[in-house]
């Protein structure tokens, strides 16, 4: 196994807030890495930095050995990244099916002037329907985005990301907003996709699921990496427990 993603010394601050400080870790090809930590630890910021939605002050990021920290987002996606958002961002002017179909057609829209050459969207729409089925929201396929419940939109994020046929999938709390049944089913689907070869980095608060599915854990707290390793081991460590318990105690006291 080799490293698919290498993240080194990522440091990001907004104004006076230090969101990330010297965070480094690696993701092996085929791995299922879970990124955990209390609220505000910098997990979403980390994923945004990997995909290029934000530009850290300092970062070295390599995908399959290639330095991507200077590339614009769409180039990183072309190289095999995909991301789902914690706060859903569907295209509100399109149906659910079209949201995914556009991503399915990512090769067609890669070059602006060749995109002009195609009118037919049927093949991509059919493929989109299959992806929506995979996450159990195909019944909403031809409906508008507005008015859909959160659970549907969160799964739309996943379907759309999968449509890009990525090598590395970044999932930001994909299970939040789903009920027990939906969450369990989606988690199973994600695990299956990972077994089929897709490398996954997932942020998740649902520690039960994390311990069940993750191969390895990276723990962030206050913008720093405080632990890394096998799920059971990491969760035993005092500093990790303190980070979570400390947060709870603070919240309780406030």
């Amino acid at each position: 196994m080799s490293e698919l993603l290498t993240v080194q010394d990522v440091t990001m601050h907004f104004g006076g807030v230090h969101a990330l400080t010297d965070v480094s870790f690696e993701v092996q090809d085929g791995e299922f890495l879970c990124l955990i930590g209390p609220n505000g630890a910098g997990k979403t910021t980390m994923l945004k930095a990997i995909v290029g939605a934000i530009r850290p002050q300092k970062a070295r990021i390599q995908l399959a050995g290639r330095e991507i920290s200077g590339l614009p987002t769409h180039r990183r996606i072309h190289l095999g990244l995909a991301l789902t958002h914690q706060i859903v961002r569907p295209f509100r002017s399109m149906t659910l099916k079209d949201n995914v179909a556009l991503a399915v057609g990512h090769r067609r829209i890669r070059r602006v002037w060749t995109a002009l050459g195609g009118l037919d969207r049927n093949k991509e729409r059919a493929e989109a329907l299959k992806l929506l089925e995979m996450v159990d929201i195909h019944t909403y396929a031809d409906q508008a985005v507005t008015g859909q419940p959160l659970g549907v939109l969160k799964r739309l994020e996943v379907a759309r990301a999968l449509a890009l046929q990525p090598r590395l999938l970044l999932l930001d709390e994909p299970l939040a907003g789903l009920n027990h049944v939906e969450a369990a089913h989606l988690a199973d689907t994600i695990v299956r996709i990972n077994r089929e070869g897709l490398t996954i980095v997932m942020i998740e608060h649902n520690l039960g699921e994390v311990l069940r599915v993750g191969h390895r854990l990276v723990v962030l707290d206050n913008g720093r990496k405080i632990a890394e390793g096998l799920p059971r081991d990491v969760m035993q460590r005092p500093n990790v427990r303190a980070a979570y318990v400390g947060k709870e105690a603070n919240d309780a006291a406030a």
Binding site: P72, H74, I77, P90, F91, M94, A103, G105
Partner: protein, 287 residues
């Protein structure tokens, strides 16, 4: 058709090409342009200067498109660097900048007095109208084609949520530039036609008011809807003509219309038509 009707129809045609171009930039791709008239002007001045230098009509029209499109790409590059709200003002600034430069260039561009005695295209009034009609049909067909193509699909994403478009692999800067290139080239074509139609152009023909007029034609028709824009343009061009008494009130009507449509029916005529269809369908279904 009499001479008057022919002229009117030609003007409607020119305005449609202009509006369809703006609809591409603002409607399809979501980039607000308040300086569209500048590209209209660039096309007109290019064609006028070349015509006076003796070049043939068709060549001048192509040159008008190319010139306008090239500057359009330059302006498009500014859109890459600035956010949405800034873009509206920047494009407005481009419009004023164009006027400012043209007004000061007396020797080359005629300054405030403009360019007069532009030679005729050579087809006569009827022939020129037919040419304009053909170009209108081509422009509209092209626009509809883009809308249905994958370029149009990508434009939709860019207009909807630029950042998310990037995350699903859309090369947003390239698509914005494409929208500007195509939309401004169409404006340039309209400008070329206009200079042959009027045979006399002055800087004020291409000022902020003109940019706003085109924007109102697009907004009233329904931003993004090609057929809506055609109807909106025809209406806003013809109404002042048919109701001569309101020509003194023309601008007031434009302003009130712009405001009213955005306030009460932001999707324009196209939106209202779609709404009416839906209501009819429901009535038809329920017994």
């Amino acid at each position: 058709m009499g001479i008057y009707e022919l002229s009117l129809a030609t003007v409607v045609g020119i305005n449609i090409i202009l509006a369809v171009g703006l609809n591409l930039i603002t409607g399809f791709c979501g980039q607000i342009s308040l300086g569209h008239a500048a590209f209209y002007g660039i096309g007109a001045y290019t064609a006028a200067l070349m015509a006076k230098a003796g070049m043939p009509g068709p060549v001048n029209l192509v040159a008008a498109m190319v010139m306008a499109g090239a500057v359009g790409v330059l302006v498009g590059m500014t859109s890459l660097r600035v956010r949405e709200d800034f873009l509206a003002i920047t494009t407005m600034g481009v419009g004023f900048l164009f006027l400012g430069i043209v007004r000061q260039q007396e020797s080359l561009l005629g300054g405030e007095l403009g360019i007069s005695s532009i030679p005729s295209f050579g087809l006569g009034k009827m022939g020129f109208f037919v040419l304009s009609l053909v170009l209108v049909v081509l422009a509209v067909a092209f626009s509809l084609y883009i809308k249905r193509s994958w370029m149009g699909f990508a434009f939709e994403a860019v207009a909807d949520d630029e950042d998310t478009a990037r995350v699903i692999s859309v090369d947003v800067p390239a698509y914005k530039l494409a929208a500007f290139a195509l939309g401004t080239a169409l404006a340039g074509l309209a400008g070329g036609l206009y200079c042959y139609f009027a045979r006399f152009i002055v800087p004020d023909d291409f000022g902020f008011i003109t940019s706003i007029s085109v924007l109102s034609m697009v907004a009233v028709g329904g931003i993004g809807s090609v057929f809506g824009v055609i109807v909106g343009t025809a209406l806003l061009t013809l109404i002042p003509e048919f109701f001569r008494f309101i020509s003194d009130y023309k601008l007031l009507v434009y302003g009130a219309l712009l405001f009213g449509v955005m306030r009460f029916a932001p999707d324009g005529l196209a939106g209202l038509t779609a709404l009416a269809f839906k209501r009819l369908q429901r009535k038809g279904g329920a017994v």
